[in-house]
């Protein structure tokens, strides 16, 4: 029940990954073995392009979502941004960045880094369902931002933003638009042409592929600078010997994700709704977080007031159920989830929140097992609790 954290390897991806381990040649070598690896890399790139409806040459491989996101933000402080006179006219003098208050830490921290360098950064507020406040957004766009970065779907509450509209508004204001689609890809349709974005981040291990590999879509013509220099790989944008097995595995994972997208959506949505309806029926006084409709089909975030998240997580862990929590007690920082706090649910509901994220291997029997365990655990913890108003 923790598929948004990571996913197991699909056996078909595993086969491709292992097969490629024996193709040890350097994908940059000119000899036959090298050319074979280069072809496998090209094929993988094409599969990823097909998943997001881009051209293969608009996709570069990185070490994962965090690197992809860092690369976009790093470009905003790079001279490449204003290399041509056209670019200079478009982006010169722009020093404002707009992102949201519910991004992944790698975007938050990248934005704060730019802030420390003198850029103005706005973290857009969200409403109770986690949707970006569009009126604040429209107002901030008047500041002529350089970059807007808004995640497509949230990892914690699953809320899906209207990226197409947000990107259009950004472009009308002359800004570049990036979306972190790490949680969206493989779960809902991600089509860069339809969305109209300049940059889009992908990660492989969220779609049943290996860890340590990701990608960045860069629309043809959009400015981009390297983080890792010193090689011709990825058009000179990302140096380092090609990671053949991971790239081939990513290609296969992307192919399967595209092929299974419809089935995945139907299957996980049905299970998620079964879980949600079961909780609502069996457990009094709970709150379902995230948007009621614009939400990932696999993600169910629930607050159980009166019970604390880490305690719920550990009691579930003992029964063999893995989940995650927005509670401060499990974060190591003593701060509750920034995502839930941004939605305004308040600290008590954030401390008592549990994320159930389902995947393509989740079964109805597993969901029913969770439904058989959670109500009694909540009842037990509420029984210990000083929050007497929630004692059922």
């Amino acid at each position: 029940m923790d598929y948004n954290a990571t996913t197991p390897l699909d056996p078909q991806v595993r086969d491709i990954f292992i097969r490629e381990l024996d193709s040890f040649a350097n994908g940059s070598s000119m000899h036959e073995d090298g050319r074979k690896v280069a072809k496998d890399i090209f094929d993988a790139r094409s599969r990823i392009a097909e998943l997001i409806n881009s051209k293969p040459e608009e996709v570069i491989f990185t070490s994962g979502g965090s690197e992809s996101n860092n690369m976009v933000f790093n470009t905003m402080i790079s001279p490449v941004l204003t290399r041509t006179s056209l670019q200079k006219a478009a982006f010169g003098g722009r020093k404002t960045i707009i992102t949201t208050s519910i991004e992944h830490p790698c975007v938050m921290e990248s934005a704060k880094h730019l802030e420390s360098l003198g850029y103005t950064v706005h973290f857009l507020p969200v409403d109770g369902n986690g949707m970006v406040d569009i009126s604040v957004y429209r107002r901030l766009l008047a500041e002529k931002p350089l970059l807007v970065s808004i995640m497509m779907a949230n990892n914690e509450i699953g809320t899906i933003q209207d990226i197409k509209e947000l990107a259009l508004l950004a472009h009308n204001a002359g800004a570049l638009f990036h979306t972190d689609a790490v949680q969206a890809a493989g779960k809902i349709k991600v089509d860069v042409e339809d969305l109209g974005v300049d940059y889009l981040t992908l990660s492989c291990h969220k779609i049943y592929g290996p860890k340590g590999i990701g990608a960045l879509y860069i629309r043809k013509g959009a400015p981009i600078d390297s983080l890792i220099r010193g090689g011709h790989q990825e058009n000179g944008l990302r140096a380092g010997t090609y990671n053949g097995p991971s790239i081939a595995g990513f290609g296969e994972a992307a192919r399967l994700a595209r092929k299974n997208l419809e089935t995945y959506g139907k299957q996980t949505r049905a299970l998620r709704n079964r879980l949600r309806d079961g909780f609502l029926k069996e457990i009094p006084d709970i709150r379902i977080n995230g948007h009621p409709e614009k939400v990932l089909p696999n993600t169910l975030d629930v607050s159980f007031p009166g019970a604390e998240g880490e305690s719920i997580l550990l009691m579930l862990d003992i029964t063999g159920i893995s989940v995650s929590t927005g509670s401060a007690c499990a974060s190591g920082s003593l701060e509750p989830s920034h995502v839930l706090m941004a939605t305004g649910v308040g600290p008590e509901l954030a401390h008592g929140s549990i994320r159930f994220s389902l995947g393509k291997y989740t079964t109805e029997a597993e969901v029913d097992f969770v439904l058989s365990q959670v109500p009694q655990i909540i009842k037990k913890l509420r029984g210990f609790s000083t929050v007497s108003s929630h004692q059922a």
Binding site: E308, E310, M315, I318, C329, A330, S385, T386, V387, S388
Partner: protein
């Protein structure tokens, strides 16, 4: 199952906590009542004591909090039965942690509220019975060895409104000599913020 996050003792007390108040508070008459912590910060603890001849005869508690908060209150409730209130007053978090077979370092100050709730319940008992206060007898750890400032001093200063290193220095002179205790003090401040709220 692979190694658990906490010790077996913690796990046992977490899954089967002892002396939990299962009835309405009114149905368990007490001689002393203490409540500390803040739901907004993620931990709150209530302790009820029955006391006879300065000895704790029985105890009930409730906790909203993480596994270590539940387990530490449970084990404390076992340990203090039969203990004199004078001894109980000097218990410190480390004593409870030792009984639990250890806790992760970042869990100690935020989740072990039992000693504070216990002192608050004893204070309540003494006050209700017009007995002399034990305040000042609690265990204190010296944080600033140059100026002899303890964690209790810092806690009192926090309660009086101090929120920053500079506030504390103005009130207690902490760290005004070598300054080597700054990091530890800032961590303590963060934990107090978690405990008492802004």
């Amino acid at each position: 199952m692979s190694e658990w996050l906490y010790s077996d003792v913690v796990k046992d007390h977490f899954m089967n906590p002892k002396n939990v108040l299962s009835e309405d508070e009114a149905a368990w008459p007490n001689d002393g009542r203490g409540i500390v912590g803040n739901i907004k910060c993620g931990d709150q603890m209530l302790i009820l004591l029955r006391i006879k001849d300065r000895t704790i005869t029985d105890v009930r508690w409730k906790t909203y909090g993480c596994a270590s908060a539940i387990a530490s209150t449970s084990i404390l409730s076992e340990a203090i039965k039969g203990m004199s209130i004078d001894d109980a007053y000097t218990l410190k978090p480390e004593d409870i942690v030792a009984k639990l077979g250890g806790l992760p370092a970042n869990k100690i100050h935020c989740s072990v509220l039992g000693d504070k709730a216990l002192r608050s319940a004893i204070d309540d008992y003494l006050e209700k019975n017009s007995l002399p206060s034990l305040k000042g007898k609690e265990h204190a750890e010296v944080i600033c060895t140059c100026l002899n400032v303890t964690d209790r001093d810092i806690e009192d200063a926090y309660k009086a409104g101090d929120r920053t290193w500079e506030d504390l220095q103005a009130r207690t002179k902490i760290g005004t000599a070598c300054g080597g205790c700054k990091q530890k003090t800032l961590e303590l401040l963060h934990q107090l913020e978690h405990l008492y709220g802004e």
